[in-house]
Point group: D2
Chain length 462, copies 4
């Protein structure tokens, strides 16, 4: 169980009479990518209709809202901010009224030269209403003198460094565009209408297609701009890149296990991460248990590889909402216990291997190890299905600052002492790439190896 | 009872530890000026804190919101839009992050060259997030290259034609400014803190001062910019005007009767309007009754002048909220009846003079006259305490288009037939100015006499 | 302005396809009689459907609730408790499933032998879910062995002492019944359906009839039981009484001015109370002002009688909701000021007569007198349009205990000093009865004269 | 995945200063037992304080509610009704004011002679406010003439046939009582206060103890009444039983896997059910997959026993709330798909064994089998980790009527055709009892074998 927050999810559909409802469902399927706000903009008769709100998709939209969001084209967004406070003004899609019509932008990723561009735009008289970096994209578009949206988008994103998977809606076009590194996922699909017309769909993850019954076609390529308008679909590569930098963390933790991300099944990747971990960090034990839910596939992979039985030694309470009231008197490890309950029927007297997907600050692991011991485990061997997290992410993952990353500041031996396990071992960088079936030419693993694929600007974060 | 919607109210305070709470109360007192949205921005340590929402002041702000709105300086706004739909993005104060810091603007009024400026700004690459004309002011400020806010504000408002009473908050200044015509009210006051310091207060109406226990000092003058900063208070006249154009409708209907507006008591003005009306439109009758609540003082003035007894022949249900559920079967005049109930104990067999503040479309009057007859009145003489409304307002009053103004399209005789009264009479323009104790050199009465004090731009409205 | 809380309102309708909507509107019109909870029970195919909630009628019922409340018969209730905390379990109509079917009861009044009956019923094994005295009526009905509801009701209410105006709904009957004293009002009306059928309506006040377009027929008599079933309407007198004890306070404060109560117009009664007050308590003054809204008709009567001009010296803010956030620093008389604002434009330099409907604790009057002086009044003469309140009410008015009734414990001279007025005078008992056009043979004025028309039981209250 | 609804959970604590917060947390941990309503009653100075509401525990209680629920003793309830509609009047704990003080009852189970007792009580004049059978217990208590609560409780429950695990709170006692059959679980624990005092805790499941840090002591025995008062704890056996009838379905589906129920780990039971199923219903396959979440342990047991790999072939979306908006155009199997997504990366080309905990109507299984095939599975072998469900439950499990139980009306071959799997097999009754490590002398398996341990009364249900 990680303490990092999820990032964002984007969705777009062109040419379906049920467009806003399908967008709602696509966002529903990608709720794990952001629970802070949700929004949909639809296009009808060249005009935008929008509805945004703070909270979960199921709470933000009422049936009457979806009825109002008429039209055969819609885009949507779920958000956990990586920049900007959680204000409604930061909720996406961001919308604006430009000289050549309305435009709406839904963004997943993080722009590293955000502050430089923001200052430059402010000096030129632009005003910023919110604090998120997506607003920069709107301003760049608005400064562009062309009436050709595609030219404007291509020119504008040339200014951006960092991660962006964007879905853009104008008065007559749906655009999907992905940065040349391909940090964040973006996939293309198709769905038939009841009367047999073909509609186009884009989403952050394929699980959105599964729910709405759309077919997965391919990824939007790194450096590709894809758009649909009344003339049909179009695609251009606006920037070539010798290598890509897909975020390896999408596979380790972010994405839903039932999604295909960067062409691979996330579930299978996690199992391979667990299997590699077993090869590298074998230890004598009675059972292998996951920290649910994210650690489950890795623990299954570890168990299959090691031959040690897989057990659900920790049960998760799925009814825990976003808030709950604390007891007034002290209950040990309460914050973790409200979600996770180690069961002594499974653990008592056992040598236990505990598999977690990653280890960031170490606080939760410490509480968990203690609870597992309280439940009667004889030995606790903590195994992390990814390498030590030594650097923050600048491309859209909400990691804490370097000073709070325990592996950036402590030896593994010290971390072991801190969390109180009998042994502690991480997956190696090599093991990570082996499990991911490719290396630095395909993936960004900067949080583990420090190899940031772009320049970095904001000194305060480093 | 009028069918026009109220306009906006603005408030600002500098130098009081309870600033956001006092702003909340000031807005509470001015709730009649706008019920669609409310917002407060406070200033603490050079940073802005804001909270806005749709609905009534008492619903938008919780105690925790006011706690979060820390700092000794705050501005606030209640709104009924005259331009722009009721979207949260249009709720004020509007806030922006400019090159030289944060700025927040609260606006009462309407800019007549809105569309021209908006197009010009869009062509220059500005983007508009909402639809209200206050956003233009932010863009003009952001385009100004000076670091001197006061210069920037003065230069920016030179571009505006129309009505504006503005309260502006930057990172270190509270500014109050009023257009040279002085269309909308804006008053200055002072309040002592518990420890004896002097804080400055500005508001649309003096009733806001009464509630918070502040003293009324004077009006912000037409063409004046007044500001407070750490160095103290300052004032300049940025534009001279030979005559002013105070909105006469503030006295007829908008403002609270207990406010001083343009230096006169609204309550006393309304009584004089009624008295003048009595002089001009005498008729034999048993009782004079008001359409509550706005018609009450005029009816009192009419009764005193004419010697005919004043009675509350129509009772208003003050528990009627903004929505109620309709019956399914037909109830005659239901829409009016839910709020107003003519009582036959008073009306039966009587010759009745009914006083309303104004008559716009005629629909409500028609229903009311019918109900009064049903309650047993022998004769119904409708008297309007203002002249026939022949033109829309472009300065911040939400009047219907000319085609819907019955007096712009029908003779008084025809209107009488439409509403079904025995007689119908309006106050004359001369009577209006007599009651207001001044004429066209002081007041704008364009909705009655067609003498618009500025150029008009938006043809579609005319 | 009084500090007493309102009591309850009841409503019932038989034979209208829109029955629950009309009940909703009837309750809406009687919202002044209770704002704590609202409820409706409808009858369809011999089954009850119910919906209750805490809060205002307009908030408790959504359109879907009224749709669900199907059937041509409904009863409803708005409540401010005179006994029992504000729990949802106390919200009315109370419903129960008896041996011979469902029954629902809506009650206005207060049972004085409540505690005796309650203890007796508990000893016999009855259980009480809420704390209000209406539950006793359900238990008495359930103990009755007859299958004849009318017999059961008549026998049950014989056990009750005190005030009750009841509307009862069974699986096939609508019953309206009023105690022999006739403490609380209850009126009978008729309304035609769109297809010309005649439906029967009962309500606490005629203002409910006005809104739904029903015709007032007559009062339900003291000691009368009236019911409607498939056979038609029926009436019996179950108890004769030489005199009645109509609550005089309904006219002084409770009822809406546009209602007929006990056969008299409330508005006219209040004007006569003011006129009698003027005859008895004349004083030299410049203006007469009411404490709005309840004091307005009395002030009008006072002014007409005395010849001193009537003015609205205090303006009420009708946007004040049930809650508002207090300032943190001290604002003098804040609690009153949030609702009422004395205007110095009217009061400055004047000798002022202030008319209030009654004076209970004296706290509000004290604040008001102070505020009127602050607004510049030269003299303040407080006049109360009812006699000194010397005893609590046991029949359904939520008066404070005797120890908190200032007139029960202090001389008028002392009260005058406490509130700070120049003079203070009340209406005499004789004046009260004169204004009400009848005396103790018709009215209960126990709170003023101590003549309680029933035995009293609960010692703690006396 | 089953379509049956959960039943209820009860909780009680005596002697802890944080009693209502701990009750809240205990209910939070048992949320899976009922999501329709939640309630807490606390005891302070001999008086009851209560708060109930519709919805999830985390939504029903605000911090201020728990503050109000003062006192060192509390009881609580979460509910899904097995009898009675979901009305707030049915929310528990039910409370009543009896002749000897307040009493509150929280009930898990179902009374089979409910209707007989209800009619009898109504004939004797009792009134029923809700429709649930717990109200009967209150009435029986109220009819008892003893001042000794324990005698009254023992005498009252003698009248009840069926399942009851009750927690009762009076003005000075906390009582826990369980029917002689022991249908529903009820466990006893202890927790220390911060200052070292010993508090007593009772709950439906041990997972509630785990969260609040209480120690599990033992089960409340079938036929035991246990109570705590100022004199300490007490226990009596009020009814002896040669055999018990613990509900086997608690282990198959209801209880949380991390609870000890009837002395056994639920998780281990489920694994053994899966293992027995593997022994009985072997089939050649590539993978074993569970229907999440309830089928997971059984699938693990099946996989371990059979040696066929365990995979997560279906991913559950845990963000699915209680409501979501449907698409307007057709999406195949949408109702199941919103929660469960079979992933083709795992299933494609595979022979798949699908493990579900039970099969009731067959609708969900049919959709799932279809979705698994669509995801590319070559063969689908459905295995049910319990016997065919042939009879409804009368002891607190919300099963559909017999006519809707597919196995009560169809052969297994026909069911297989209906759901569309290649093969279908259930666990045998013998296998069930083997996995549960005991037989009919310990467990009720009436829904599978028709051996109801009590008389049955309500003919309409049979």
């Amino acid at each position: 169980m990680r303490s990092w927050k999820d990032e964002c999810g984007v969705f777009g559909i062109w040419g379906h009479p049920d467009s806003s409802r399908l967008t709602y469902l696509g966002l529903y399927a990608m709720q794990h990518r952001g629970q802070e706000s949700a929004g949909i903009v639809s296009l009808e008769n060249g005009k935008h209709i929008h509805h945004k709100g703070l909270g979960l998709v199921g709470d933000v939209f009422k049936d009457s809202d979806l009825k109002r969001l008429a039209g055969e084209v819609s885009i949507g967004h779920v958000r956990y901010s990586t920049t900007g406070q959680n204000l409604l003004t930061n909720a996406q899609p961001l919308t604006a009224d430009l000289f050549n019509g309305p435009v709406a932008v839904a963004h997943n990723g993080n722009i590293v030269n955000n502050q430089i561009l923001r200052n430059e735009l402010k000096q030129a008289g632009s005003i910023f209403q919110g604090t998120n970096d997506t607003e920069i994209i709107l301003h760049l578009l608005s400064k562009h003198r062309s009436n050709d949206l595609i030219e404007a988008v291509k020119d504008s994103v040339q200014r951006l460094e960092g991660a962006f998977s964007l879905v853009i809606l104008s008065h007559n076009k749906l655009v999907a565009i992905r940065d040349p590194h391909g940090f964040r996922p973006l996939v293309l699909g198709q769905k038939l209408t009841d009367d047999g017309r073909k509609s186009w769909v884009v989403a952050s993850e394929t699980c959105a297609f599964d729910l709405i019954g759309a077919d997965y076609i391919r990824e939007i390529q790194p450096g590709e701009i894809f758009w649909v308008d009344e003339q049909g679909e179009h695609s251009q590569i606006f920037a070539q890149s010798a290598k890509t930098s897909h975020c390896v963390f999408e596979h380790i933790y972010f994405s839903r296990p039932d999604s295909l991300v960067f062409g691979l099944s996330v579930y299978e990747s996690r199992k391979r991460l667990g299997a590699e971990l077993a090869k590298e960090t074998a230890v004598d034990a009675d059972i292998v248990i996951p920290v649910p839910d994210s650690g489950v596939p890795a623990a299954m992979g570890y168990a299959q590889q090691s031959g040690i039985p897989f057990e659900l030694g920790i049960i998760r309470n799925h009814y825990v909402g976003r808030t709950f009231i604390q007891p007034q008197q002290n209950i040990r490890d309460f914050g973790v216990k409200i979600k996770l309950n180690p069961q002594s029927a499974v653990l008592k007297g056992k040598k236990v291997i505990v598999i977690d997907d990653s280890l960031v600050r170490g606080t939760t692991s410490r509480n968990l190890v203690n609870m597992i011991r309280q439940a009667g485990a004889k030995e606790v061997h903590l195994r992390i299905a990814s390498p030590p997290t030594v650097g923050p992410c600048y491309y859209g993952v909400d990691t804490p600052q370097k000073s709070q990353l325990i592996a950036a500041n402590q030896s593994i031996e010290k971390i072991k002492e801190h969390v109180g396990s009998d042994t502690l071992a991480y997956l190696s960088i090599e093991g990570l790439f082996k499990a991911m079936q490719s290396g630095q030419n395909k993936y960004c693993a900067a949080c583990f190896d420090g190899q940031y694929p772009t320049r970095l600007y904001d000194e305060k974060n480093i």
